[in-house]
Symmetry: C2
Subunit: 209 residues, 2 copies
């Protein structure tokens, strides 16, 4: 006989009454696994900045655009300020070999410190693109700012950018355009601090009724 | 001697010149692994609707809010119409045992057909919440609509909702609030059709300079 597992059910007030740090952990992890990228920017003073984000969302392929939610806190604000100043930024995948460095970019470094130097990653410049890529990242995207949408509900900002540069190992690109990120060791993240590899289950054909 | 892997580099015009379906696959997969949820709603006529989404993004914990990008296509439009009519919706995790059903909800069923019936999942109603949960999902969230943000760049819509109900197995909730989704078998998705389990690498402590 198999018994049902014990279920915790929470209402709005239960969530509101959680200790603040527990609530942040809980809400941040409950939605599912998330995209994991390091965002590379450069300040008006020329200082490279690198920050890890888990709030990337695909918006569409025509034009090729994605959104990044930036929180009002100090570290992410550096990234936003730089994007607003320069209109360009990079997205760089995280792999197991650099997961500690990626996580460490979330520390509150002053704006005159390059997180590349502080954590031990290498800024890479190419194609006359002003923002730094991460040399150690196997998948690198260059984006040009298209729209900034303030989300009044909690003072976050949705930064919408167009993908204008992609660098990816040729062997990972399938015939139909699919990029096999698992073969490249790209990681995903849960909550604030839990990093995961993936294990493919299946690909399914286009669904018809 | 180890040689560098061959790298494919794409510019804006290279991306624009890709065949349309390849470009959709390519851009949809290049950003990283994504959250995977089934969104449950009910139409004004009382027909339950279920649709799989990979565009969930965490916005913040105070209030507990998240965003869902809805595309202008017909299937997702049913979901949006229902949310606008009823102001409530559910998010339900996908597990290996129901991945085919989840994927099948992306087919273009007419609005008078319940995807629950069509794919073989069970609508579950509780707490006087109008929108249906998926009984087979181990993690279930109930949301109340807070804000609708049209994104003019490509006619998608960012639907912002507050989490007002959570149901999750007690054993997965850690002392600090972290929910161990991997232990619950929640899946992640890459591109349009590639489903993955996860394998934890590490959890890292709060980063300080």
């Amino acid at each position: 006989m198999q018994s049902e597992p014990e279920i915790t059910t929470l209402s709005s007030s239960d969530i509101a009454n959680m200790p603040q740090r527990n609530r942040a952990m809980f809400i941040n992890s409950i939605g599912g696994f998330k995209s994991l990228v390091m965002v590379g920017t450069k300040s008006a003073e020329g200082v490279p900045n690198l920050a890890v984000f888990s709030s990337l969302v695909h918006l569409g392929a025509i034009p090729p655009v994605c959104g990044l939610v930036v929180r009002p806190g100090q570290e992410e604000r550096h990234t936003l300020t730089n994007i607003l100043n320069t209109s360009v930024y990079t997205l760089n995948h995280v792999h197991q070999s650099i997961v500690r460095q990626a996580h460490q970019t979330s520390a509150r470094y002053p704006s005159n410190v390059s997180e590349f130097d502080a954590v031990g990653l290498t800024p890479q410049y190419k194609d006359n693109f002003e923002a730094p890529f991460v040399r150690e990242s196997v998948v690198q995207l260059g984006l040009r700012l298209r729209q900034v949408v303030p989300l009044v509900i909690n003072e976050t900002t949705l930064v919408i950018g167009e993908i204008v540069h992609v660098s990816v190992p040729t062997r990972a690109i399938g015939e139909n355009g699919f990029v096999d990120l698992e073969s490249l060791g790209s990681l995903t993240v849960s909550g604030l601090d839990s990093y995961h590899r993936t294990a493919a289950i299946t690909r399914l054909p286009y669904a018809k009724p």
